[in-house]
Amino acid sequence: MRRPSVHAVRSAWLASIACAVVLAGGLTACSKSQNTSETSSNVSNTQSGAPAASSAPKTIGVSLLDLEAQFYQTMEQGMKDQAATYGYTIAFQDANHDQAKQTSQVEDFISRRVDAIILSPADSKAVGPAIVEANNAHIPVFTADIASTASVGSVVSHVASDNVQGGKVAADLLGNALHGQGTIAIIDEPEVTSVQDRVRGFKQELGAKFPSIAIVTDQPAGGSRKKASDVMDNLMQQFPNLSGVFGINDDSALGALAAIRSAGKVGKIKIVGYDATPEAKKAIDSGAMVGDPEQHPDQIGKLTIDQIHVYFSGGSPPPKLPVTVGSYSGK
């Protein structure tokens, strides 16, 4: 038992030394190869007589919050299509809600010397140092959908849905369905900045266009379907005359719908959600929900690539580009 273990230890140490030597050898070898690659690019410069920017195809590295989500998959497609029209090479990575992972991905992009980086930060604050690293490597950083709120690092341009306007769309949908009369509730998630914007827009529009509709309560449910359903149960007890509800995302709206369905009040209480997910669209088509503001992630993707194109062409994109939110109210 002992002998092989000692043996294993020794050979493992030998292997580790071998590895270290290889890495050290690599360090010197690669500095050489780096030189050659630089000279080769110099050669191409002199040959074409144009700056390297226009000769080599540009590469964009993208790391998105969650590539398993439909929303980001649609955004990915929008970016891919638009990158193809400009002839850019584009590489996607899934941050999978892990900022450490995303930071590693950014570092790998820097190693590859990509020409631009697009991020949907996994953590709006903790993304800062990764952006700083890219800044130090003189690689422009763009954010899509989620902004960086870190105190460090500079982003060229942020492209995202105009959530204030999206909230207004929700207010129009609900106000029209109620013919400007009634009492409504908001199922909220006030911790999230984009949701704060939605609710602000919703209240502004409602106050301006539908003054006879009263918001009786604003309840947090964490954007979760189960919790939204529980909250809705209580609201129907508390406010028997409730005529409408705005769920800040479709899970909130569909949770409310589940509670309303159990109470046999489908159609009596009008529901508006947010996002127009396939499930919500089905509910809207069947008449159980009124409608949804609909984000256009493909547009967000496309416009982000457009901003990069502007930047590459020597222009200066706006620091913030709001993307219009549409409206879905059934087939």
Binding site: M1, R2, R3, P4, S5, V6, H7, A8, V9, R10, S11, A12, W13, L14, A15, S16, A18, C19, V21, V22, L23, G25, G26, L27, A29, C30, S31, S33, Q34, T36, S37, L67, A91, F92, Q93, D94, N96, H97, D98, Q99, A100, T103, S104, Q105, E107, D108, F109, I110, S111, R112, R113, D123, K125, A126, G128, P129, A150, S151, V152, E191
Partner: protein, 349 residues
């Protein structure tokens, strides 16, 4: 190696010595072969990534990216050699991270904050390790259960402590441990700002861990307990103390790696470290340590962590999709362990 062998007949002794020498030559040959193979593979890969893979900046990138995993994997190695397992290290990274961030937030003085935060991080990790180990050594509970419980509790506590929000860290001294560089003159030789502090911390942990495991009495006890706990107990080894220490070390190292991670991200987040326990186990297993206990090494674990980190980095450099990356990584773990097993069977027959 054991006393019993010297009693054996001298003829047998010389024969076994000859056999051992032959085996050593074979091992040397294998190492040289492996070395040449590695050089070729790395050269090909370097070529495929247009020289980016072995660029000094990228090599340091990989080493920095594996620092957190390598450090927790050192603790994990000790635990696994005693035939245990620690599933809590990922959650402990989150818990100690938010505790350190909270400590820093409430102590504006840079020096005091740094000192207290490091103290809080390491001791909270160590204490959690103590709670992991105590039911194992005192009541014989399976470590899988106690550390699974700690995994849930630590994650929950991290969320409770922060209300689910990450805490930003603006203590520059603290952040520089995860972000900073040392030996700038050495770095300038290869055109970088210096050697990242994270890498130096990792190397220190790996070297100290390797030394303790192979050169100290404590290390030999760890192997002995994993090989046969009852025999170790009967030969007078303080099994209670050694096993408990191993869990405390694993917890404290989770705190240390959390310090690097939180510093690197300038933030302590209750969501950090998800799945890291499995990453560390993967590094340990790829490094040739047996989950049955009694066998393994820190150097192997370091190579395991390095291999996994290099793979991720390579796949990113080659623009391999995230989904495919997980498939490749799973396959590599399986193949690495399979090869190790085959080699071992070949050696013993």
């Amino acid at each position: 190696m054991t006393a019993g062998e010297s009693v054996a007949a001298q003829a047998v002794e010389t024969q076994t010595q000859k056999a051992a020498a032959k085996k050593q030559r074979a091992a040397l040959l294998r190492t040289v072969g492996l070395f040449i193979f590695l050089v070729i593979v790395l050269a090909v890969l370097n070529r495929a990534t247009h020289g980016n893979f072995l660029a000094p900046g990228n090599v340091l990138n990989v080493l920095r990216q594996i620092a957190v995993n390598a450090i927790i994997a050192v603790g994990q190695t000790l635990v696994i050699i005693t035939a245990g397992i620690d599933l809590s290290v990922g959650s402990l990274i989150a818990l100690t991270g938010v505790l350190m961030a909270g400590t820093l937030a409430s102590h504006p003085s840079v020096a005091v904050g740094l000192l207290l935060a490091v103290l809080v991080g390491l001791s909270a990790g160590g204490f959690a390790g103590f709670i992991n180990g105590l039911p194992v050594v005192r009541f014989g509970l399976p470590p899988f259960i106690t550390t699974l419980a700690m995994m849930l509790m630590a994650r929950g506590l991290a969320f409770m402590y922060t209300n689910g929000q990450p805490i930003e860290i603006d203590n520059h001294a603290f952040n520089s441990i995860g972000n900073g560089f040392m030996f700038p003159s050495l770095g300038h030789l290869i055109g970088i700002p210096g050697i990242p502090t994270q890498i130096l911390v990792m190397l220190a942990v790996v070297l100290v861990g390797g030394y303790v495991l192979t050169q100290t009495r404590f290390g030999r006890y760890v192997y002995a307990i994993g090989g046969n706990e009852e025999a170790a107990r009967l030969s007078g080894i303080n099994v209670f103390g050694v096993k408990l220490s191993v869990y405390i070390i694993a917890g404290a190292l989770a705190g240390l790696s959390s310090l690097l991670l939180a510093g690197h991200l300038n933030s302590g987040s209750p969501q950090s470290g998800v799945g890291y326990e499995l990453q560390s186990i993967a590094a340990v297993v790829v490094g040739g340590t047996s989950l049955m206990g009694g066998r393994g090494s820190i150097s192997g674990t370091f190579i395991g962590a390095l291999l996994i980190g290099m793979l991720y980095n390579l796949m990113n450099l080659l623009s391999i999709q995230s989904y495919a990356q997980e498939v490749v990584l799973g396959a590599v773990i399986l193949i690495a362990v399979l090869l190790d097993q085959l080699r071992r069977q070949y050696l013993t027959t």
